[in-house]
């Protein structure tokens, strides 16, 4: 069991991670206020479970996992995914030609937001949050191979819509 000082220490580490937890939550929940709600629930839950955190594990991955689980529980509990949570299929289908016209306006965020959820989370954890494949797989509770294939598919989709400075030719 942690002493008071080490609990306080971890709390401050969590405070320092809040900006990243909020960023990750924005990948789960479109509405910023709802995203913060998910972060708040997760942080409260994390404090209740500090004894479950192994100090050899990265605190950020552990928290990302709790954020993700809090989000899943919220979705289930509230049953209002369609209203507040990022609709996976809601984005209009972009045809090839209009896509080419619009392509410059596509930000990384928009493109990311249109990925199917499993790919979006894999990309977000590895490319945005900088987690290793192993840590990201652990956050998402999937085998490493599943993580890498989601990541590969997500990247492929992003590369198809983003105009990147290098490697533009197919």
């Amino acid at each position: 069991m942690s002493t008071n000082e080490s609990v306080q220490n971890i709390q401050e580490q969590i405070v320092a991670l809040l900006p990243r937890l909020r960023r990750f939550a924005r990948n789960l929940v479109r509405n910023p206020h709802d995203a913060d709600d998910v972060v708040q629930i997760a942080v409260e839950r994390a404090l209740l479970r500090l004894d479950q955190w192994r100090s050899d594990a990265r605190l950020d991955s552990w928290l990302f996992k709790i954020v993700r689980n809090a989000w899943i529980d919220e979705v289930r509990a509230r049953g209002r995914r369609a209203r507040i949570f990022m609709p996976e299929e809601a984005g209009e289908q972009i045809g090839e030609s209009s896509m080419e016209r619009e392509i410059d306006r596509w930000s990384a965020e928009t493109a990311l937001g249109r990925l199917p959820e499993d790919q979006r989370l894999a990309v977000s954890l590895v490319l945005v949050e900088g987690l290793s494949y192993k840590d990201a797989a652990e956050v998402l509770d999937v085998p490493l191979g599943t993580l890498t294939s989601r990541l590969a598919r997500g990247r492929e989709a992003l590369q198809a819509v983003l105009r990147l400075p290098e490697g533009e030719s197919a």
Partner: protein
């Protein structure tokens, strides 16, 4: 030489072991196409690093900082009491495993006990039991034993919201007290008592007496956290509640 795109991706992400990395290094020198594919992966990586970076610059809402420090000051509901947890901290008795996280919560929550005095005078609905913990009494105990969740009648002293079986086997229910001070709690059946495991109080929010669920709902983060910490599986559905009530909410044999 053909190299799978997944391997090149892992190369760009720094996930390969030294030997494989060296072989890709060599392949890139020989084959401009491979070099180009790696460059695409790197460019994407760089582009995505900036996604949502605006969030990082925003000031973090105070409520999140307070939550991270275990200060439940959020308007949604403040923890005023976590009986079992407090007991555990005080007596250092061995807890049933399912409740351990709650003990942590109590040691973290600021202001534990602040609202406790307010409870003492409350029309006898919640009283100190023989072992020092809080127990539901009188009409509150009756509601917990007899009412099904969300059977709302303003005439009752409380509304129950959620029933579930705890990891320790006993039945637990969340409730909110009818009235103006919008208090909610979690009670678990032990023997013939409903022991109060957690109470939360929301300030002032439900002064419009007509809608006594507004702030008093079992949705209080503190109560929800207490439920989270102890629930075994899913909450009871309507039929499950009826069956549990019929069995007198007796704990399951494990």
């Amino acid at each position: 030489m053909t190299i799978s795109d997944e391997t090149l991706m892992a190369y760009a992400d720094g996930e390969l072991d030294a030997a494989t990395r060296a072989s890709i290094d060599a392949a890139m020198l020989q084959d401009p196409d491979i070099a180009k594919r790696v460059a695409r992966h790197r460019a994407l990586r760089k582009a995505m690093q900036g996604a949502f970076s605006g969030v990082l610059e925003e000031p973090v809402p105070e409520r999140l900082i307070a939550a991270a420090r275990g200060q439940n000051t959020a308007p949604k509901g403040a923890v005023v009491e976590l009986t079992l947890a407090r007991e555990a901290v005080r007596r250092k008795t061995s807890l049933r495993s399912g409740w351990q996280p709650a003990a942590m919560a109590a040691s973290l929550a600021l202001g534990v006990g602040l609202g406790f005095l307010a409870w003492q005078g409350r029309s006898g609905l919640i009283q100190q039991g023989s072992d020092g913990g809080l127990v539901a009494r009188a009409a509150l105990a009756e509601v917990l034993s007899t009412e099904l969740s969300d059977d709302r009648s303003p005439a009752l002293v409380a509304t129950t919201h959620l029933s579930f079986r705890a990891k320790s086997g006993e039945y637990c229910r969340t409730f909110s007290l009818t009235g103006t001070d919008a208090s909610s709690g979690l009670a678990c059946r032990e023997g013939n008592d409903w022991k109060i495991m957690a109470l939360a109080e929301s300030p002032r929010a439900a002064t419009n007496s007509g809608d006594f669920r507004t702030a008093a709902s079992a949705d209080s983060p503190a109560i929800r956290a207490a439920v989270e910490a102890s629930i075994d599986g899913e909450p009871l559905d309507h039929a499950g509640e009826i069956a549990a009530r019929q069995a007198g909410w007796a704990a399951a044999k494990r």
